[in-house]
Symmetry: C2
Subunit: 199 residues, 2 copies
Amino acid sequence: MTPPRRRSDAEQNRARILDAAREYVVASNDLKLNEIAKAAGVGQGTLYRHFPTREALLAEVYQADVDALVAAAPDLLAEHPPIEALARWLKKVAEYAKVKRGVFAAATSAVRSDLAGHSIGPIGDAVTALLDAGKAQSQIRGDADARDVILLLGFLTNLDEAEWDTRAQRVLGIILDGLREEAKPQRARTRRAASRTGF
Amino acid sequence: MTPPRRRSDAEQNRARILDAAREYVVASNDLKLNEIAKAAGVGQGTLYRHFPTREALLAEVYQADVDALVAAAPDLLAEHPPIEALARWLKKVAEYAKVKRGVFAAATSAVRSDLAGHSIGPIGDAVTALLDAGKAQSQIRGDADARDVILLLGFLTNLDEAEWDTRAQRVLGIILDGLREEAKPQRARTRRAASRTGF
DNA sequence: ACCTGAACACCGTTCAAGT
DNA sequence: ACCTGAACACCGTTCAAGT
């Protein structure tokens, strides 16, 4: 059960690589592996030893952020009705994405790679929880799943700097409305509105 | 007014480059410039002479497809009510994107580059026409613009092969519903539903 | 066991030399 | 006026040699 002890120099290098990567991630969008190795003061090989793939590195860089997002979902659900919880959670995602666009790319790629598999990753689970709560109260359309939402959130990646405060909010609102179950009027409808137009 | 005649060999090279690029585009997602030059039987410099940027090349490769999409918008509006026209147009975009993902990337990048500017490109104009028609009948939310829609359509780029027929349709439906103006019940509402949850 | 950094591969881009 | 392709730059990845 005890994790195989690493040599202390290895442990230190690992930390330095992560620190360097974190710095680069806030600055520019794409991190250059060699540059990070250099900034961390280690050889390129050392970087590869600790993080065999670029994704492995990114996953660790964003670990804390992803964890925070995942943890927020049940908290929000405990305090708010499902739609409201979902709305707040989406807002939170946008805030993270604004500073570190990679948070989102990391989540997306995780989901993408697990297409065939069963798990959709922790972020996917968080979204599923939010959606399920809404479905249970017939406030979220029953056919939407976590991957739908994550795919749609991909728009954040293409946002320009100046648009963050205005457009991001509006588009999140469009997504949220699209996920809503039709408000039931006098007589319950059998098919969703979109079905009538061919979707 | 007469366009400055190109030398016939230049004209021919141009065509061959485009042909080669078109072939590569259907096969793989990212086209390698040197490879295309080689496949076209021209030097790399020739490729750059005709298409100074990668985008310039892609724009021409997808020209016909983009034109078709743009032309479809007014046609659909003439034959269908706005929402229905929009729904059909979105479906058409998805069909194109399925075969040539680049169609969409081309449209996106065009819009992206013109952020500060006035024009949002022909595709943007097509979407605007569809949205405006819907807004005029209070069927589309008044605050949505073409760039919102194009950003959301970006999800098509991240779709996996197997998802095209099922998920694509559903997500397009979500977008469409999100763009709808709230169906006016007995009493008109002052604020959109999403506004009540913080967006 | 882990690290280093030279070396290779790959691809985009330029430019001197050709026709 | 246009073309060619060697050459350079850049970045990811590997691996022989070191400690």
